[in-house]
Symmetry: C2
Subunit: 238 residues, 2 copies
């Protein structure tokens, strides 16, 4: 920290700075291991001053989580142009960028939320607030998918395919973070293929799903991420 | 409750009875809504006597959860005989039986654990204990899958396919419980197909996975659950 000329920050500006500093620390190590002292030191202010802006680590954690959720949801936005496989692949890349940037914090959160023990964390309010944020991001992902599929009212089977694929994306990212033993670029393409495969399986039970999968496949270029999947499945079956 | 001739139960017998009664109540409604008074009444004993065996609702909840976990893990056991698709389908049926029997409790648990607020629930120890139990069931499912696939040391890609499919099974069950708008028998077959589809997608990146999928497909009968999947995918692609 520069200790030279320090401009006095406004309240909201200081709050935003603290959230940014905390999010950075919570992302690089498990949030349980990050102390208020560390946050204060990284922000270049005193511990009491942190408490002046946030009643405690829990509220700072929740604010950081809110910012991360908004950041993640914003990465789902993708122009409605070109084949669906390519759009989905670009979103997967941005999702893995996010996971990469926030690895330890993302893991701790998705594995049931970190302790952030001190003042009443693990309290039911905190657990509920955390889950509500995670659910809002999942819902944003779900709505983006439907809009790209050109669907306003999802059938139960389409809803199942999209929501269960979203959970597959989450678990794939968590497993990837645990050792990073598979190149992430491969997983990004694989998850696009997985969506096509899950939709195709479900299409066997539902005429609307079958129509949707046909429409998706029709738009795909020969060099797009969907292109070789069916051929590969045929090769395996022979 | 019969209030006629009541045999005096031993300590362990009484504990086991209370766990069974509690598990039944926690399964039929969200655990948050179940009171110690209700458990006492259903067991035909006084509230203080419940506290004699369990310090509180939280410890009773944890004991019930432990029994449910063991029950679920036991349902994964399947003879190593016949085609893999059929084995997997029988396991999926038993899994959905379990989900059906424990619906509200299963949902509450998997959606981040119920509050079970009273004495220090949501405490970090409780959250950790709950997650450790869930993880032990996932690990049992993972090990069963590997043993049926005839693999002792999983490659990173196989591990990813199996673990991410297990999370797909969980999320599919949770989505099913929310309204039961799709027949469960359909989802049981679909999840078997999903495993084949995810394995086939991954096989595109990994020679060992491709070999494994070929072996799986070879053993399948023409009327087994894997049988029409590839044909259906081919039909969609044409």
């Amino acid at each position: 920290m520069s200790i030279g000329v320090r401009r006095r920050m406004g309240v909201e500006e200081r709050r935003q700075q603290l959230i940014g500093v905390a999010l950075d620390l919570f992302s690089r190590r498990s949030p349980d291991e990050v102390s208020i002292d560390e946050i204060a030191s990284a922000a270049g202010i005193s511990r009491p001053l942190v408490y002046h802006y946030f009643p405690g680590k829990l509220s700072l954690y929740e604010a950081a989580l809110k910012r991360a959720s908004e950041d993640l949801a914003s990465r789902f936005a993708e122009p409605h142009e070109g084949p669906l496989g390519g759009r989905l692949l670009r979103v997967m890349r941005r999702f893995f960028d996010f996971v990469d940037e926030h690895g330890p914090g993302f893991s701790a959160l998705m594995r049931g939320g970190p302790a952030v023990s001190a003042e009443g964390a693990g309290s039911q309010d905190h657990v509920s607030a955390t889950h509500a944020l995670i659910d809002s991001v999942r819902q944003a992902a779900y709505e983006q998918m439907l809009s790209h599929l050109g669907v306003t009212e999802a059938s139960p089977r389409l809803e199942l395919v999209v929501r269960s694929w979203i959970s597959l994306v989450e678990s794939t990212a968590l497993i990837w973070l645990d050792g990073r033993r598979i190149p992430r670029a491969e997983l990004e393409v694989q998850l696009v293929h997985d969506f096509a495969a899950l939709a195709a399986v479900s299409a066997g039970y539902d005429a609307d799903m079958a129509e949707l999968v046909r429409t998706m496949a029709k738009d795909e270029p020969a060099d797009g991420p969907f292109a070789d999947l069916v051929g590969r499945l045929i090769a395996l079956g022979s």
